[in-house]
Structures are given as structure tokens and as C-alpha cells.
Symmetry: C2
Subunit: 397 residues, 2 copies
């Protein structure tokens, strides 16, 4: 995790600094994959770095399951932790804001400011709640294209994302091949396995069977399905960490000196999971969590080509960087290689790195020398090719 900075300390030199989120309102209806139409919507986003005159240096960040627009920097002096991908976005970092203009948004259906279940539904006068349509990766990419239009960005120098974010990048490459110059797909998969879906289904059942869920109308009942969200997050965390990372972080260490022969917290790993679950259960919206897991389950671009992924990838025109992490068992290296093989078969230029890391799926969020070297080299090439960085310039690593 990014280091927290101490209160009143100056911000780290390689931080993008204090960031103010912005909101873009769109009132042209958006047709969704489910057949419904969203009459209008807001997207909340942040930007880091400066857009050049040619508007050729913009990089799109796509977020994962529980992510949001706040990917780098701080919202104010009191914020102790920077954005979720601060390890890789900033001056001199993998996505170097000395060169790039970085755009990071909260996706449709999110719970951090973009239109979603917590937003007002003008048709009913209620919150959207469970009525909010199940948006898909393709819907997200369509809405992100609207944001690009609004910002005057005809073509992204790169679209970048990890996990569910990587799926959005893939979708960009297929749906808008002329609007994306480079694609970075990290710790992702071209489609979920049965086991991935199974874990999502446990999370959904946990939330939906919580009596406080009220069929998704918990806000109107002045309550929150905290038990369900907590369980969903606990299961999630198990899949984000590798077995080894969990082992070396917690082992079988007890919080107290002795077994208590009861059900209070005993092992450190129990304490960690309960804490993570409790925190999440009061800060994340349950309807958003549900629809994000469905977007994950549904993503399967090869499906309409009878499972032929190279055929699905045929429209893509950009070079790809695919990155996986050795200990990631949520989306293991084999899933990335599936994508790499399909890209090669489809005749697309692809670089692939399998990074040796003990941190499991979470590794994509963390700093790591080799990960940074590969990631920043690809981004520097992108910058040079786009003419936004002199061809002989070397960035300190």
C-alpha cells in the first residue's frame, strides 16, 4: 500500500499533490447493453498532469471492483492516504505526469459521485437503488468515450487498468480501436472462470440475504446491509491476497496469548478480515457492489464469436502490455497468457511480463521494481511515439 504521509508533513515530492475532483454532466441519453436507456448521467473524475496543445498525451485510468476516481494525490492536506494507484501515477512514476495528462473517473453505477444506485432517479422521485440498470464493461467504455469527447481527447495515448479495469482497457481496444494508441492490461482476464463467478455469487448471496438489504431499498429503510457487505469483502480479501502473503503476514499468530475456546477473535488473520469487512460495510454501497460483480461475470468478448478470442480481438489496432503476478490466484498468470496467446494469434503487438511477487492479486496496486521498470518502459515508448517526449529522453527509475 502507498505510504501514508504524516499530518502537516509536506506532500511527497513525487506526488501529484492536492487534487480536486470534477463532475461532467451528460444529457444525451446513453443506451445500455441491457436494453434500457439512461436519460442523463454524471461522471466524477480527476486529472493529473497537463493536457498538451495537441491533446495527444492523455491517459485513461480504469478502476477495479471497489475502485473510484481518486487514483493519485490527496484531496486535502488532512488526507492521510493518497489515491489507490499513487504508487504508479505521479512525476517519475510508471505513468509519469511530467509527460502525461491522466484522467481517472468513477464508473457509472459507482458510489463515489458518478450516477449510480445512490443517485436520484427523476422518473420515480426515489433514489435509483436496485432499479439502477446492470451496467456492463461495454457500457462503461461507451460512457468513458463521452468523457473523452467532453475533454476534447480524440485518442488516448494509453488506456490503463488492473483487474476489472484491465477488462475495460480490452473493451476500448475492440470497441474504439482508433481512439486508443496503447493498451495496458494488468492482472486481468478476458473472462471469469466458474470459480471467479462462484466467489462473486457468494458475495452477492451474502448481501442479498442480509435482512437489512430490503431488496436493495435499504436507504429508504434507513439501514445498510452491513453484515452482507462485510462478508462479501472478507471473501474478496481472501482472493486478493496470496496464500503465502497471508501466511507471512499473519501465519497462525494469535491476537491473545492463548486459545480462548470461543468465537471472539483469536487469530490475527481473523482480526484483519473482520476489520477490513467492517470498514468496507459502512463506506461502500451494496447495490454498487452487486452490479460491479455482475459486470465482471458478464464480461466475455469472445462469447459472440463462439468463444474465439482472437476473432473478438481482431478490430484492435494498438500495442498491448499485459502484466500478471506469479502469486495472483484470483486472475492467475495463466489467464493473462490466455489473452497474450489470443493477441499473438490475432497478429497484435503484445509485450507480456509475469512479475515475481508474493502479494497475490493486490500486487497490481503495489510498488515493485520490475513491475515499475516494465510498466514505465512501455509508457515511455508510448510517450516517445506520440511525440510527447523526446526520443532520446531517459526517465529516472
Amino acid at each position: 500500500m502507498p505510504e501514508s504521509h504524516r499530518l502537516n508533513d509536506p506532500l511527497p515530492a513525487d506526488s501529484v499533490g492536492i487534487i480536486t475532483p470534477q463532475v461532467a454532466h451528460f444529457d444525451t441519453p446513453l443506451a445500455l447493453a441491457c436494453g434500457k436507456v439512461l436519460p442523463d448521467f454524471d461522471l466524477v473524475y480527476e486529472t493529473y498532469g497537463s493536457l498538451n496543445a495537441e491533446r495527444s498525451n492523455a491517459v485513461l485510468i480504469c478502476h477495479a471492483l471497489s475502485g473510484h476516481h481518486h487514483a493519485a494525490g490527496y484531496h486535502n492536506d488532512e488526507e492521510r492516504k493518497p489515491g489507490w494507484w499513487d504508487a504508479h501515477i505521479g512525476p517519475g512514476k510508471s505513468i509519469d505526469t511530467n509527460h502525461f495528462f491522466v484522467v481517472s473517473l468513477n464508473n457509472l453505477g459507482g458510489c463515489h459521485g458518478s450516477t449510480g444506485p445512490l443517485s436520484h432517479n427523476s422518473d420515480t422521485g426515489r433514489l435509483w437503488g436496485p432499479d439502477f440498470p446492470l451496467v456492463t464493461v461495454s457500457d462503461w467504455v461507451n460512457s468513458q468515450a463521452r468523457l473523452a469527447d467532453r475533454l476534447g481527447i480524440e485518442r488516448w495515448a494509453a488506456a490503463v487498468g488492473g483487474s476489472l479495469g484491465g477488462m475495460q482497457v480490452l473493451q476500448w481496444s475492440m470497441a474504439f480501436p482508433e481512439r486508443i494508441a496503447n493498451a495496458v492490461v494488468i492482472a486481468a482476464t478476458p473472462r471469469l472462470s466458474a470459480q471467479n463467478i462462484a466467489f462473486n455469487e457468494v458475495a452477492r448471496q451474502a448481501i442479498r440475504s442480509d435482512p437489512d438489504f430490503h431488496a436493495g431499498w435499504y436507504s429508504e429503510h434507513q439501514t445498510l446491509p452491513k453484515r452482507g457487505l462485510k462478508l462479501a469483502r472478507m471473501v474478496g480479501h481472501i482472493t486478493y491476497l496470496s496464500e503465502d502473503a497471508m501466511g507471512s503476514k499473519f501465519g497462525r499468530d494469535l491476537r491473545t496469548n492463548d486459545l480462548n475456546f470461543g468465537f471472539d477473535v483469536e487469530f490475527q488473520v481473523e482480526s484483519y478480515l473482520r476489520y477490513q469487512g467492517d470498514t468496507f460495510s459502512t463506506t461502500f454501497d451494496a447495490n454498487t457492489y452487486l452490479l460491479m460483480t455482475k459486470a465482471l461475470d458478464y464480461f466475455d468478448p469472445a462469447a459472440r464469436y463462439a468463444g474465439n478470442l482472437p476473432e473478438a480481438l481482431a478490430p484492435a489496432q494498438c500495442p498491448f502490455l499485459v502484466v500478471s503476478f506469479t502469486s495472483d490466484w484470483r486472475f492467475p498468470p495463466s489467464r493473462s497468457r490466455e489473452l497474450v496467446d489470443a493477441l499473438i494469434q490475432a497478429g497484435k503487438p503484445v509485450s507480456y511480463a509475469n512479475i515475481d511477487s508474493p502479494y497475490g492479486h493486490d500486487a497490481f496496486l503495489l510498488p515493485d521494481d520490475r513491475y515499475h521498470a516494465v510498466f514505465s518502459a512501455f509508457m515511455q515508448r508510448a510517450a516517445k511515439e506520440a511525440g510527447i517526449m523526446p526520443a532520446n529522453d531517459e526517465v529516472t527509475q
Copy 2:
């Protein structure tokens, strides 16, 4: 899974046939690891085959997390499915009832007839419920020794168990080395990893946070924590199957023709998990499930030797057979090898087989040629050494 036989069909020739469970009552108090004393208790058990005159051919079966005494055969003509380990117990099977007298019990704290949370607590006049003490693997083995005494079995020809059952076998070898001639430890581990504990903790939180749990007094509230048990079982099932088994069993197959953009069952794997969870939630006792998971978490014979497993195993005197399955990710082969290495270091005779199987942890319940060959060869050697089978006799495989 064992094949079901059709109603009115004769029982399969290699079945132990119709079995009637028996109950042994013990009124000598049993001191438990937690410090409490169980004043008296019942153990329900079944036997298959015949005890020889020397009482030297008895084999103890130890059950896993949700297991019970009904390991083989049928309770009546109408029962469609045989006991849980029928694939390996019967005439000509791995544990050959032509030679062995097999004893299979429901452990203390269980919910299938042995004293547990569903039993009457004479101290309070209520059911034991959540007051039932947290029994450990060592308590189980102590109570199993009482059963052996009752049956006049001084020494088991073998103690055999898979998963949590394998832990009981290990405990027998250390606690009563003179009372066990052979030990078969299948798909087990000498202690849970942090990830194993984490999954158990999710299951416990699911049950304990269910409003119908009522701090364990659900029976008195005429209800059952079905939501929690269902979730616990769903999580369990994910860990029992390998990712590949789930993939080849369900893939991304839909139950309906199209995505429904809602939260009804869509993928086959969702349907399977919900069905398994629903069935379990009405047939298994929640307090029993909780204490069984704690027994798993607590088992760690090396703990009192500062983590030195060979030292913990020093008292053992019998030969061991350790079996693991390549696709088991709940207790993977590496955990079995940990045990094998420690046994070798402790100078114990050990045979080890890592069986190539796609079925994950569940493989220990299933028929498999190589598994059967290894298992029955070890058991035949045990039979010959005990003089209960002529040294030159060959058993059909």
C-alpha cells in the same frame, strides 16, 4: 460420488449392505482440552465386517468437517445413496470388509446422534446449543479411545481419515502410539494455513451474523440460521472443488439462453452453489458447524514444540500412508509433503502418494484406480502383518 442405486434394485454386490447405527453411552466424565468436563456422553457409530476372535482386525474411520458415522452401506432399502465413503469401504474395496471390522462414529459435538449442541444438557434443562464446549481433535481421539475400550479393541489395525479425519489419525499416532498399528492420513495437513483459517472465519461470521442465529439459541426461537449456513456451505464448496473441476463441470454455461441482467440464477455454477447451500442449511446444525471449524483451526500438534513437527511426531510408532491429490487447493500436496518430511525426519516409516486427480479436495471421497491401488495395498499389508489375511493372498482390485 458413489453411484445411487435405484429403488427396489438389489444392493450392489460390493456393498456392506443394510446397516443399523448403534449408540454407546459413557458415564465416566471426559475432561476436555478447554478445561471443561463432559459428565457423560453418547457416541453413535456403525460397524461393517466382523471383529475376529483376536480383536486384531478393527479399523477406525474418522470423519471430516460435515461428516458422520454413516460411512458405508445403506440404512434401509429406500435409501438411495450409500454412506459418504462407500467408494472405499466394502468387500474388495480399499478398506476390505472381507478382512476388516470397520468402526465409524459421529464425533462429539456432531449433529447426527452423538452428544452435541442438539443434545439435552442435564445441568440446565435446555439443549446444549452454544453452551456445548469447543471440542478439539484431541478430545475426539480421547472419546474414540473410550469407544475402542467399549468394543474391546485394544489396538486398531489402522486408523484412517481424510481432511479433518486425517488430523484425528495423526493425533491417534501421537497420543496413543501403542493403540494404532497403521495410520492413513488423506488430503490433510498438520495445521491450517492462515488462508484456511480465513475461509473458516468467513463461514463462522456468516452463521453468527445471521439474525436467526440468536447467539446460538435458534432452536429455542423455533428458527434456523439458514442464510448463514447456506453461505458457509457455498464458500466451503468452492474450496472443495478444484478450479478446473468447476470449470469443466460448469464453465460459463448459462442456465437460461440469455443474460437476464438481474440477480436470478444465470450461471450453472450459481445454481449448483445455491442448491448445495440450501440443502445443507436445513440438514446440518449451525453450532456443530461452528465448533467443527474451530477444531480445524486449533489443530497444531507442533505448537507445543515451538513449531517443531518432527518432535511432536516422535512418540508415533506405526507406519504411515499419506495421500494427497494434485488439484486439491484446500489442503494441497505441499501440506502433505510437509507432514511426510516431518515423519521422515522423525524416523517414521511413511509411504506417500500424490494422486493425479482433477477433482480437488473432494477427490478423497471418490473412486480412482491409482488411489484405490495405493490405499488397498497399504491396507493389505496391514492385514497380512496383523495375521488377519494370509501373507500370499491377493485381493482383486
